[in-house]
């Protein structure tokens, strides 16, 4: 079964294009300089339309997760993580932690992780793996 994939909008196209090109793109306000996510063409902190896109490091730490024991058919049949990563730049992002056992022992909060871009055809998703 094909993976459920995002349908980009004009405001988010740049983010998803970045994933295809191997870049994790965040935005920040050029007035108050705070990075933010998900993408939008204005600053959610101060409302300024003066924002810019920049390439993030793709590094962060495991902030929280569940191990879903009832996997959706497009994901697979085995229990898997649904995680939130705290990026080094500050924003939080939902993802899956891959390339490690999907167990509480292997998934330790605050462990360093890094982005692993994974091609699913129409879109590339920013999954994360232990760094």
């Amino acid at each position: 079964m094909d993976r459920v994939l995002p349908q980009p909008t004009p405001e988010t196209q740049e983010f998803w294009d970045g994933c295809k090109q191997g870049e994790l793109r965040l935005q920040r306000c050029t007035d108050c300089s705070k990075p933010y996510f998900p993408p939008r063409p204005f600053c959610p902190v101060c409302g300024s339309r003066s924002v810019e896109t920049f390439k993030a490091t793709g590094k962060g730490k495991l902030w929280s997760y569940v191990i879903n024991h009832r996997p959706r058919p497009d994901i697979g049949t085995e229990p898997h993580s649904i995680a939130v990563v705290m990026l080094d730049e500050g924003p939080k992002m939902m993802t899956n932690i891959v390339d490690c056992p999907q167990t509480p022992e292997a998934l330790q909060l605050d462990m360093p992780v890094e982005v692993k871009f994974t091609d699913f055809g129409a879109q590339t998703l920013p999954l994360f793996k232990p760094a």
Partner: protein
């Protein structure tokens, strides 16, 4: 809003609860509405304001034969009905209408003519782009995501989550209409089927059919109704984010804090004045977040508060000091999908003095709701003492 200017004069749930395969969702709304109208001694034609979620106020009004001058379709998830009470109070005080009917009905289990609240909105919505691709399957694998951070921050364990379910089952045992009555232990909870680690099945709410309705009018008129009026003392609401991954603080809900503070400020009461508390418990962590974000416990201390039986039906030979989720909650009583209505029904029953597990002499009750997955919140503080 102004304290005690508006009151509940009719309150009822659906005639049956649990599995109701012979009623569609809109009929569950209507069944609860007719019961609430009977409770208030009113006919549908006496209603001039309607509010609902899950279906439209248009469908509700049409189905019951009501011609309203006020309609509220606020739909922010399971706490929508708290927001309806708040908005109805403002509308009545402003003269937009005199008597408001608020209904809930959901065929959550049998799925007959099922509508109900569903978040999302396709894979171009924000949750569709930035959460759904990673495999969440509804609330059990979404609402639960912040909890590992909460447990680590406060050095708590899965046993602390399990204890919430255990204590609430004790309340459910006293409620003949509850889905579950048999006592459970922490081990029972932890060894039940794994749903989404760290959550097992007994840490997750039920899926049932049911409904409920409330009728509100001005305090002046409320005196002339057959039932003891239950006055609205304070109200709050807020929303934060449609994506649980983007909530500001994984250990605390901003919507809870804002809604709760607003309600306490309006009511002009202190925490010690509260006799009875309902916190929407879609999952076992909600009472922990709720107790802390409403200010009953300091951050990280709610688990010990529950473990030490302060919210329990009995604590060292006496009732617990803060009876919580006395109907058994979404974990053991019922949960049709948008449970906020049932939390308010139990507050009204407690203040009328007719609850199955009655808290002696309860005068002030709080119904605190969540909408979506920490997305929204509504808080109503009730009093049974006349202004």
């Amino acid at each position: 809003m102004k304290q005690k200017t508006v009151a509940v004069v009719g309150a009822a749930e659906t005639t049956e609860m649990g599995r109701i395969p012979d009623m569609s969702a809109i009929q569950l709304h209507a069944d609860a509405a007719l019961n609430a109208l009977a409770d208030a001694g009113l006919k549908p034609s006496d209603i001039d304001g309607v509010a609902t979620a899950g279906t439209s106020p248009t469908e509700l009004a049409y189905y019951l034969g009501i011609t309203p001058t006020y309609a509220d379709g606020t739909s922010v998830g399971g706490c929508s009905f708290m927001l309806h009470v708040r908005h109805a109070a403002a509308a009545i005080n402003e003269g937009l209408c005199k008597t408001v009917l608020i209904t809930h009905g959901e065929s959550g289990r049998s799925r007959v003519g099922a509508g109900g609240f569903r978040g999302g909105g396709g894979n171009s919505s924000l949750p569709g782009q930035f959460e759904q691709p990673y495999g969440p399957v509804g609330p059990p694998s979404m609402f639960t995501i912040p909890v590992m951070r909460y447990l680590k921050t406060y050095n708590l364990t899965r046993e602390d989550l399990a204890m919430v379910s255990v204590i609430q089952r004790e309340w459910a045992a006293k409620n003949p209409r509850a889905s579950f009555h048999d006592p459970i232990t922490v081990d029972d909870v932890l060894s039940s089927r794994m749903i989404a680690y760290p959550f097992t099945m007994l840490m997750c709410c039920l899926v049932t059919d049911g409904g409920g309705a409330l009728i509100l009018t001005s305090a002046d008129r409320a005196k002339d109704f057959p039932q003891k009026p239950i006055y609205v003392l304070g109200t709050g609401e807020s929303v934060e984010t449609p994506m649980v991954s983007q909530m500001e603080d994984f250990t605390s809900s901003k919507a809870f804090r804002v809604s709760g503070k607003k309600a306490f400020d309006e009511a002009g009461i202190k925490h010690g004045d509260v006799d009875h508390l309902m916190i929407y418990d879609a999952f076992a962590h909600l009472p922990l977040y709720g107790l802390e974000d409403l200010g009953f416990c300091k951050p990280g201390e709610a688990a010990a508060f529950i473990r030490e039986r302060h919210t329990a039906i009995e604590n060292a030979g006496k009732p617990g000091s803060l009876p919580l989720n006395t109907n058994g909650g979404g974990l053991s009583y019922m949960h049709s999908g948008m449970y906020g209505m049932y939390a308010m029904q139990e507050s009204v029953r407690q203040l009328r003095g007719i609850a199955p597990a009655q808290v002696p002499n309860a005068k002030i009750s709080i119904s605190h709701g969540v909408g979506g997955m920490f997305a929204a919140s509504g808080t109503i503080i009730w009093s049974n003492e006349a202004p």
